[in-house]
């Protein structure tokens, strides 16, 4: 049966998600307040699509899934979709928005609907990589995520704000606030990115990762920033953001223990480092489209959560994303216990 999907918000990520869904054979309805933008994206998608000038209140009936790619809060839109028993995929990466979306869990679970929270690059792709890496270990003690790059203008504005907002680290079972733009760490991303200095900030990754790893001791997130980003983060953006950023990436380091080398022996401390590099809008659009197909086809558990919780077998997800131009990479050959902090 053909999947019926609506994409609300047609920026850089929404356009990519719509294109990926249409290419997968879904019947896509594009929803955006601007008729000229709708016409442009319909041409860009290159496949037959319906178009609605409006917002979340103007969705057609009979949808299987709605993909929320518009800036701002997604809670109200998600609640209205859940009331109609339509699955939801949100690409929001603002911690306040993500927290409000996670609060929809009980209502979504009661109605048997899936709400995928943070289905973008970080969180999103980072969650899938963390789940895959964690499955290589017998026990997970720490998860550290770093990301670099921005998608469209809304993503660039969020990155700018994130550097001034407090970071939420999960340490020994408690949420600890740290100052934004602190904690500089050189993070080595997959080629062609290489090294980038990354800092704490108002990032949503820990909010969706902690529930996936019960008992985890530390979960942190950092984002790459230039010297100019840090110096000007407390000012309004000095110039309008680019229509779309260049190549970006995500790196996930999962630490824990492998099973003992011999029966009765001590567990072996180890770390698995995985990553991906791609233009963030393309990566986020691919993750959102894959999540929409899975959620709209009722292949995910009901409730509101991130992909580290919902995707119990992340390998095929990463393989699917690789076919969409976002391959996953593994760092190996070094003593992983000595990587980073």
């Amino acid at each position: 049966m053909t999947l019926r999907a609506a994409v609300v918000g047609l920026g850089a990520v929404g356009t990519r998600a719509a294109r990926q869904l249409a290419a997968a054979g879904a019947a896509v309805t594009l929803v955006h307040p601007s008729a000229p933008r709708l016409a442009f994206v319909r041409h860009e998608v290159g496949a037959p699509t319906d178009a609605v000038v409006g917002g979340i209140d103007d969705l057609p009936d009979g949808l299987d899934v709605v993909v929320l790619c518009h800036p701002g809060d997604h809670r109200g839109a998600a609640e209205r979709a859940v009331e109609r028993e339509v699955a939801v995929v949100s690409v929001a990466d603002d911690p306040a928005v993500v927290r409000r979306l996670l609060d929809v869990h009980d209502e979504a679970a009661a109605r048997g609907v899936t709400v995928v929270v943070g289905a973008a690059m970080a969180p999103g792709l980072g969650c899938l990589l963390a789940r895959w890496a964690a499955d290589r270990l017998a026990a997970v003690t720490e998860v550290h995520v770093a990301s670099v790059g921005t998608g469209g203008p809304a993503c660039a504005r969020r990155h700018h704000r994130a550097l001034t907002e407090p970071a939420l680290d999960h340490i020994d079972g408690a949420w600890v606030q740290r100052p934004g733009s602190s904690g500089r760490e050189l993070v080595w991303f997959p080629e062609p990115l290489g090294g980038a200095d990354c800092y704490r900030g108002g990032l949503a990754d820990p909010l969706v990762l902690v529930p996936a790893f019960p008992g985890v001791r530390r979960v942190t997130a950092r984002v790459a920033a230039t010297r100019r980003d840090r110096l000007t983060s407390w000012l309004p953006m000095l110039r309008p953001p680019h229509p779309e950023g260049l190549v970006g990436g995500v790196r996930v380091e999962v630490r824990g223990f492998r099973p003992p080398a011999r029966p009765g022996g001590p567990p072996v401390a180890d770390a698995v480092v995985v990553g991906a590099s791609a233009p963030p809008a393309i990566a986020a659009g691919a993750v959102a489209a894959t999540a929409a197909i899975a959620a709209g086809s009722h292949r995910l558990p009901a409730g509101a959560a991130g992909l580290a919780v919902l995707a119990d077998d992340p390998g095929p997800w990463l393989a699917d994303l690789g076919r969409r131009g976002v391959p996953a990479w593994l760092f190996e050959g070094a003593d992983a216990r000595r990587l980073g902090t």
């Binding site: 997968a24 895959w132 733009s181 500089r184 760490e185 050189l186 993070v187 080595w188 997959p190 080629e191 290489g194 090294g195 200095d197 990354c198 010297r227 840090r230 110096l231 995985v274 990553g275 894959t290 999540a291 197909i293 899975a294 292949r299 995707a311 119990d312 077998d313 390998g315 095929p316 997800w317 990463l318 393989a319 699917d320 690789g322 391959p327 996953a328 990479w329 593994l330 760092f331 190996e332 050959g333 070094a334 003593d335 990587l339 980073g340």
Partner: protein, 55 residues
């Protein structure tokens, strides 16, 4: 007037010190060994049934 001048000089010195502290140095050293390799399809094979987009 002199107090105002001193305050302005102190502010300029403080801002200059802040800029130097925030922007100097890097966050560590690159890894000296190891490297990235793309994950093989075998490593991403399903372990429990169908994938997210399988028909």
């Amino acid at each position: 007037m002199q107090a105002l001048r001193r305050a302005v000089v102190a502010l300029i010195v403080a801002v200059g010190a802040m800029v130097v502290v925030r922007l100097r140095g890097t966050g560590g050293t690159p890894p000296r060994r190891g490297g990235w390799r793309q994950l093989d399809p075998d490593e991403l094979a399903p372990t429990s049934g169908a994938g997210p987009t399988d028909g």
